[in-house]
């Protein structure tokens, strides 16, 4: 039997008319990162809150480190750490005072509290700023301190709710590095994100959540495989649209998908690079010069589109990711 540090079993939770969680079941193996991916309002925070004992589910059960979070919330709290959606640190305390406070509340032996706070401050590269009030910290530093606060009690299981939302690209990279290191030390992590590249980059297993349901689950490659092989994007000017459409539909053997916003046709690259050559030759013969031409593996964006019928960007603006420059992903690991 494989060891699961987090288990959700048919969790349902509503707020009035809104069903925030509509029967979510999942299981996270010890020592891995689970990425819960979904747009705003999908139910991510609600699931985290149920699993961290903040909310009682209407039905279903949750287990953290084998402990029933509904039946034994206090016991479960000893095994979990939470970094919520906002950096829940005290502005008027210093970084060190924040961590010592949390260490005391985890009931670490008094002698250990100071030492542990220093250790953790160093760990998140805040040892220089540790004795300054948090009100002087940047957004990235607050987030790191918030993460640190969840580590002070050495919990086995960490819940991170949108740990990088609102961070600049560099702070985001630092946060990713930190999360990866934690897992190397044996922690189990569940994190939520609206960023497709973040889930791809960090998570061993990704659950896609929408309207309170887990609509798909798998590794990044599993999810991409659902879309089949590689994809060719051809951006053209409005004048060339009909001409290019005819050529690409001919090559694909089915109608080429058109995106009105980016003025881009998308077809599957059935024969990989050979299909690309065919496209180039076909467009050339028709006298069409494409604005942009790219062969790429399907992104998680494409996966989301195919699973929900809309892009995640309908609801969120994603930093540094637009339709025209799709970075090659899935190679970072």
């Amino acid at each position: 039997m494989e060891e699961a540090s987090i288990v959700a079993d048919s969790i349902v939770r509503s707020f009035g008319d809104v069903t925030a969680l509509d029967g979510v079941s999942l299981s996270v193996e010890t020592g891995t990162i689970y990425g819960l991916l979904g747009p705003n309002g999908a139910g991510k925070t609600t699931l985290i809150r149920v699993l961290t004992t903040l909310l009682k589910p209407d039905s279903g059960a949750g287990f953290v480190a084998g402990i029933d979070v509904v039946a034994q919330p206090n016991l479960a709290r000893r095994s979990l750490g939470l970094a919520g959606q906002t950096a829940a640190v005290d502005e008027f305390l210093t970084g060190r005072e924040n961590l010592e406070m949390v260490g005391n509340l985890y009931h670490l032996p008094s002698k250990e509290v100071k030492q542990r706070a220093s250790e953790v401050l160093e760990r998140i590269d805040l040892d220089d700023a540790g004795d300054r009030p948090v009100s002087t910290y940047s957004g990235g530093m607050r987030r790191r301190l918030d993460l640190a606060a969840s580590l002070v009690g050495r919990p086995e299981v960490l819940f991170l709710d949108e740990p990088t939302t609102g961070l600049d690209p560099r702070s985001r990279l630092e946060m990713w590095g930190l999360i990866n290191e934690l897992v190397e030390e044996g922690a189990t992590v569940m994190l939520t994100t609206q960023y497709l590249d973040e889930a791809d980059r960090l998570a061993d297993l990704i659950g896609v959540i929408d309207h309170g349901r887990l609509i798909s689950e798998g590794t990044a490659s599993d999810l991409k495989a659902k879309l089949g092989g590689d994809i060719i994007d051809v951006a053209v000017s409005a004048d060339d649209r009909d001409l290019a459409g005819a050529v690409l539909t001919g090559i694909a053997g089915k109608e080429a998908a058109w995106d009105d916003v980016s003025f881009t046709f998308t077809i599957p690259a059935t024969n990989g690079a050979a299909t690309l050559t065919e496209v180039v030759r076909g467009l050339d013969q028709a006298g069409v010069v494409p604005d942009d031409l790219a062969l790429h593996r399907p992104s998680l964006d494409d996966v989301f589109l195919s699973l929900t019928g809309r892009t995640a960007e309908d609801k969120v603006t994603e930093a540094g990711e637009s339709a025209s420059t799709k970075p090659q992903r899935g190679r970072s690991k």
């Binding site: 809150r49 961290t52 004992t53 903040l54 909310l55 206090n74 016991l75 709290r77 000893r78 979990l80 750490g81 939470l82 919520g84 959606q85 906002t86 950096a87 829940a88 640190v89 005290d90 008027f92 305390l93 005072e97 406070m101 949390v102 005391n104 509340l105 985890y106 009931h107 009030p133 606060a149 009690g153």
Partner: protein
Amino acid sequence: MTTQTRSISQDVTNQMRDTTVMIKRNLLRIIRLPQLLFFSSVQPIIFLLLFTFVFGGAITRGTDISYIDFLLPGVLVQTAVFGSTQTAIGLTEDLAAGVIDRFRSLPMARSAVLAGRTTADLVRNAAVTVIMLTVGTIIGYRIGGTVIEAALGVVIALLFGFSVSWAMASLGLWVKNAETAQTASFVLIFPLVFASSIFVPPASMPSWLQGFAANQPVSVVASTVRALMGGLPIGSRILESAMWIAAILAVFFPLGVYLYRRAVST
């Protein structure tokens, strides 16, 4: 048996430790927001000076003691009650910042967050009271009985403020929003503070108001504190005040903890 005893004593130790940690946190917050501390001390002093010098001459007291001697003990009660609104506002701020979510995810005692907040507010109130007594003495206030009686009066005013802090904690956790908490608390507190025996004897009020003004808790406590600090006949007032304080705590301690256990930021 021994294991159980040990775990209960462990629980008590942890509970005390959690509460101490939370008191310290909230006191640091008070000390490090010096402007808030400054203005929350200045406000009651303004009240004291305004009522003494602006209204004092016009207010017919129907009492034999000087107006400042009549007024100051009541203003101590008013200060304690107004100060308790800080409890509600502070909790809504913690809720909005996600701090309450963090505390609730920790294996800490359930009452510690509220006990820490209300106790810190009690300490702040005590400090403000010392300032008030100093200013009062400068402008002519004198106690009428023994120092011990006067001290008991001050303690009763502070304990009453502490009990109202628990009511305000419940209000804050219920409305969850700082502005709403501020407005709602003043809507509740103003009638209690002004339709009371703090500024004028209820006998000077219209008859339909007298019954309420003479018997509502703020008046009962203000009369008790005034009698103790002025060396006046006390009757059963200490007992009545103690019963109000106990009753408010008996309702709002469990209600506050109940609301805390279910509170999530929105």
